[in-house]
Symmetry: C2
Subunit: 359 residues, 2 copies
DNA sequence: AATAAATATGAAAGCGCTTCCATATATTCT
DNA sequence: AGAATATATGGAAGCGCTTTCATATTTATT
């Protein structure tokens, strides 16, 4: 049994008595538990080779003293940090970001990690990124679109050997796991829904075809149509953009002609909203004359009138999953999976879709 | 002149040659610059009492070696951290959050700080908050609404002496600066705009009156009406909530009666959107029969049809200002201002407002 | 010119941890 | 039984910085 030095005991007692949380260190815990700091460290880091009774003693002492390990000392001494990076490009839509953040944060909290958020866009220099990574030694990084496809960023992360999980990336890279939804399957579900309502003439507004998910949604649409033996009119397939005006344009091209579809599948809710506006201008009633579906279930989807039938990505869960993967390789020294992890989407039926009118 | 040890020189040269950024430490810089580590530290922290030539030497060496001070070592040795906290309650609207984050981050980058994001809601225990604060020793905290009015959180921050800036808080606390807009003035501008268009019968949908800003907007409305000698009908003043359905209800109460106002001032864009939906259902044309103004300029405001006349809070700038205040007390040991800092809003005129119809 | 005050610099002592190394004890294997 | 191995524990050396203290060098003051 280790002897407690008077000074240490004094200090601890005073600290506890005066309620002034004058920082408790690992050696205080060691004193109280009657073990060495090494042992305390072992217990706290879940290492082997500590007898049960000592482990318990340490845990008790640590709880009694309300010991909070100093993150900086740990990071300096060990070579891991307790910071998880959430790396973003210019916000990919506020709600999306907020969801990501919430999911990642929850999981991080469980693992005793903290979320550091940082923006990097395509114009960020490699130097700046590397300097950031060097400085913070992130114990993991989560990349959301479109940052997850930023080559410079990916290169920097690889060079600095930061474990990285990407969310909905456009392309796969070996050794970099990702979390995504099955865009193809989701888009087929949506298209099949429209077809099942009796629609035979369906238009499609695609997202940026640079992105794999946009391409998959489009080909799913084509496949579903083909499977149902329905023709696809190329004039009814348009590409949207990020600006609302451009989306209005895309919707107008499809809807403002003598022959127009009875249903419209928009690759995201914003473009669907634009379509609703256009339909309204053209005096096309929804859903009587035109069914519209979106994708993403943004808050706008339920605010629109009629509310938008759409697909919800499990945004929060995706981020949580990503954070979980990274947290696990820390604690259990698991390896990151190579294959993408695919989560289920939720199809949300609202008022913007209806039976095809009999004409 | 200090002599360079062979090993040090070797190590540094090899490191530079092999391009493998094997971490450069402060003593490497000291060697190359021909000074002590103390001096390097002084230069890097902008302290006095360093001769110009040495300062230059240090800066050069540090640049040449691409030296990145180790954040953890600094935080451990000194008692400041390089982390700024952005403390949120359950996301106050995604776009708002995204803006806050962008603003705060930009300013933090300039100051060499990093943004740690963390959620705390009203149900979070004091213990959990304190433990977080103890562990991270944030060098500053930015609180967004509604976290900025979380007493428990405020108490914890005060106890841990974390410099804090609150954004748009409901109440002032001494010694805790805040950044906000002049809600009263903004609401007067909006109301005066409606009045100047000839409207005499104006309704108002208030936000949660628990919040000071909502109260101020309401009293500004009343004052403007009074100043113009116009009556205010209490039935035309309703309170909105957070759910879209509730907002629909509020708008309906005002609009769905024999006598309804010719203009409606909604305390935020969401409620204005609800009003537009209700107006549409009641076959009230906007802006011919009814002018509507919102508040916040969310993306929805420009997506609506007609686009919403509204007021934009300088969200990003507010966060940047908050971050700036906190960064300054670090570097220049300035003190935090006691009085709230008030930023200007921008009145945005769009299609949802028009001249009062002559009836 | 002599003294006081301001300026400039480095050695060394930590900050609170983790981890290597040495040692001690318990367990398993010939 | 003794050797080989697995289990348990602590001492002490850092991790890369900041900061105190002592000391040297200038500059201002009488």
């Amino acid at each position: 049994m280790k002897t407690l030095s008077f000074s240490a005991v004094n200090r601890i007692c005073r600290a506890m008595a005066s309620k002034k949380v004058s920082k408790i260190t690992i050696s205080d815990v060691a004193c109280v538990a009657g073990v060495s700091v090494t042992t305390v460290s072992r217990v706290l880091n879940g290492e082997r080779y500590v007898r049960e009774d000592k482990k318990r003693a340490v845990l008790e002492a640590s709880a009694k003293l309300d010991y909070q390990p100093n993150v900086y000392a740990r990071s300096l001494a060990g070579d891991r940090s307790y910071l998880m990076g959430l790396l973003l490009d210019e916000a990919p839509g506020g709600e999306y970001l907020a969801g990501m953040q919430r999911g990642a944060m929850k999981r991080c909290k469980e693992a005793g990690l903290h979320l550091v958020v940082e923006h990097f866009d395509r114009s960020t220099e490699l130097d700046e990124i590397e300097s950031f990574l060097t400085k913070l030694k992130l114990s993991g990084a989560i990349l959301t679109p479109p940052a997850c496809d930023n080559k410079v960023l990916l290169a920097a992360l690889a060079r600095k050997k930061v474990p990285t999980v990407r969310i909905s990336p456009s392309e796969q890279y070996p050794g970099m796991p990702s979390v995504k939804i099955d865009d193809y399957q989701a888009a087929r579900t949506v298209t099949d829904h429209l077809i099942s309502l009796g629609h035979k003439e369906i238009g499609f507004i695609a997202g940026d075809l640079e992105h794999a998910d946009a391409r998959e949604r489009l080909s799913a649409f084509r496949d579903s149509m083909a499977a149902a033996g329905l023709p696809v009119l190329e004039e009814w397939i348009q590409t949207g953009r990020y600006l609302f005006e451009e989306n209005l344009g895309a919707a107008t091209k499809i809807l403002d002609q003598s022959q127009r579809p009875t249903a419209l599948f928009s690759s995201n809710d914003d473009m669907a909203a634009a379509a609703i506006v256009v339909a309204d201008r053209l005096n096309i009633r929804i859903p009587q004359d035109l069914s519209i579906v979106g994708f993403d279930d943004t808050p706008m989807a339920s605010a629109l009138s009629p509310a938008l039938t759409t697909v919800r990505q499990p945004v929060e869960e995706m981020a949580a999953t990503a954070a979980g993967l990274l947290a696990d390789i820390q604690s259990d020294s698991k390896r990151l999976p190579d294959a993408p992890i695919i989560l289920d989407v939720e199809f949300i039926l609202r008022g913007s879709t209806g039976l095809a009118s009999h004409n």
